[in-house]
């Protein structure tokens, strides 16, 4: 992680609060979250159900507005952006990966990946070239002309990651991306997410699986809407000093 913290964070959450309802039925989904995710960083968010993990992701992606606090993506504050700005930012800067892949069944892998670029006004030919390049870069080139129902779950999810990060987009928000996958396939999805972050993207991964969270640089623990703890990468490269020295 070379001097990543001197760079501007891709995503910054400041004193983020989200409250549902009011009075006696008031529910505090998030109670003042501060979090910054830098280029090259993958942050896992863990916590029991109801702790606010998904709310955090929804707010970070501008799909819902906070009760108070700020969400800043690539320098733009989503909470003060106009509806038009927000839509553009969501299209150009933020990629989502869901548990159930959410690829459009009538489109091939390449067309699915090209779609965000086309929506952004890029010509169909350019968008396709961009999609093919993204798929190629992730070793998914051979899937370009397949439809979702001709791909395995793991392949669909890897295509969904390509779609999330096509073009200039470098913030990927992944909500239980391995939830529907077996353990080995889930791992290949995590390995891809990890390598995209190593290549400069910033990612948030919501998961309840410790083994997948362990691919992250940082693991944030939420409980009742607050961050109760977070792990950092250990400074020494290894617990197993003998072997690491030899690597």
């Amino acid at each position: 992680m070379p001097d990543q913290h001197t760079q501007r964070p891709v995503l910054q959450l400041e004193k983020l609060v989200r409250t549902h309802g009011s009075g006696a039925t008031e529910v505090h989904a998030l109670r003042g979250i501060d979090l910054a995710v830098h280029p090259g960083e993958l942050v896992a968010v863990m916590g029991p159900s109801g702790s606010g993990k998904s709310t955090l992701l929804t707010l970070a992606g501008g799909l819902d507005a906070p009760s108070s606090g700020r969400v800043i993506v690539e320098g733009t504050d989503l909470t003060t952006a106009s509806r038009k700005q927000l839509a553009a930012l969501r299209r150009r800067s933020i990629g989502y990966v869901f548990q159930d892949y959410n690829l459009i069944p009538a489109l091939t892998a390449a067309e699915n990946v090209a779609l965000p670029r086309e929506l952004d006004g890029v010509s169909a030919r350019k968008a396709r070239a961009c999609a093919l390049a993204a798929l190629e870069e992730m070793n998914l080139g051979q899937l370009a002309d397949r439809f979702p129902d001709e791909m395995s779950g793991g392949q669909q999810q890897r295509v969904a990651i390509a779609r999330a990060l096509v073009g200039d987009r470098r913030l990927v928000l992944a909500d239980e991306p391995t939830g529907a996958l077996d353990s080995e396939t889930g791992e290949s999805v995590l390995a891809l997410l990890r390598s995209r972050c190593d290549a400069g993207a910033a990612g948030i991964l919501v998961t309840h699986e410790p083994r997948f969270a362990a691919w992250a640089d940082r693991v944030v623990f939420l409980r009742d809407g607050s961050v109760v703890d977070e792990t950092m990468r250990s400074g020494a490269d290894s617990l197993l000093s003998g072997r690491a020295a030899g690597l």
């Binding site: 990890r194 410790p210 362990a214 992250a216 250990s234 030899g246």
Partner: protein, 244 residues
Amino acid sequence: MYDPGRLRPGTYSVYILSMSIRHGLLALLERGPRYGSQLRTEFESRTGSTWPLNVGQVYTTLARLERDGLVAPGGEDAAGHTLYAITDTGRAELHEWYERPVDRTNPPRDELSIKLAMAVGAPGVDIRAVIQSQRHATIQAMQDYTRLKAQALAAIESGKAHERDDVAWLLVLEQLIFQTEAEARWLDHCEARLVRLSRSAVSAAEEPGPPPEESGPPPATTPASGRVAAATNEPPRAIRLRRR
């Protein structure tokens, strides 16, 4: 075989480890005669130095294997190292070891489970804090293992030398990852369990009490109605209304 009875109780896990060193050395010797420090190097490269050995342990183990007839001195190499070779009895013992499941009847003592067992109800101890600080350490260890695993996978895919050692090292790392994962899951479970138990304890404690705005029922009947309330999950007010 060692006689576990000769070992002090505290050395049980040492006994387990010494058993696996014995068989580990036999497994290496099955590939051909070797000398002591060579065995040490090969044992460590197979297990990624996860269980470092010192040469003293290797020679002590070799001496015991020789005493038990499982290995025999096999001459010297060109540099004058004393070589050891596996015997037929040793080979039979090794194959029996591969076939025999690892003994689970005597679980090794686990500091964490002892700690949590002691923390339950201990005065001045916040057991959720104990659990969280362990979870932090456990997940962080998993992050380190996972990073090493990604490196090992990359080494294997790039087809670098020593592939057999890399695969063995990968298996050891994954065992550590699965073990820490089990621990993290168990910690989640402990926390959820304690929250659930404390909730039902709180509601059981709250229910027998009379609502503050009432002057209170006759003392003799309170515990009984409290028990009924707890047993039927009815709010105390309903019972009181009926009694009126």
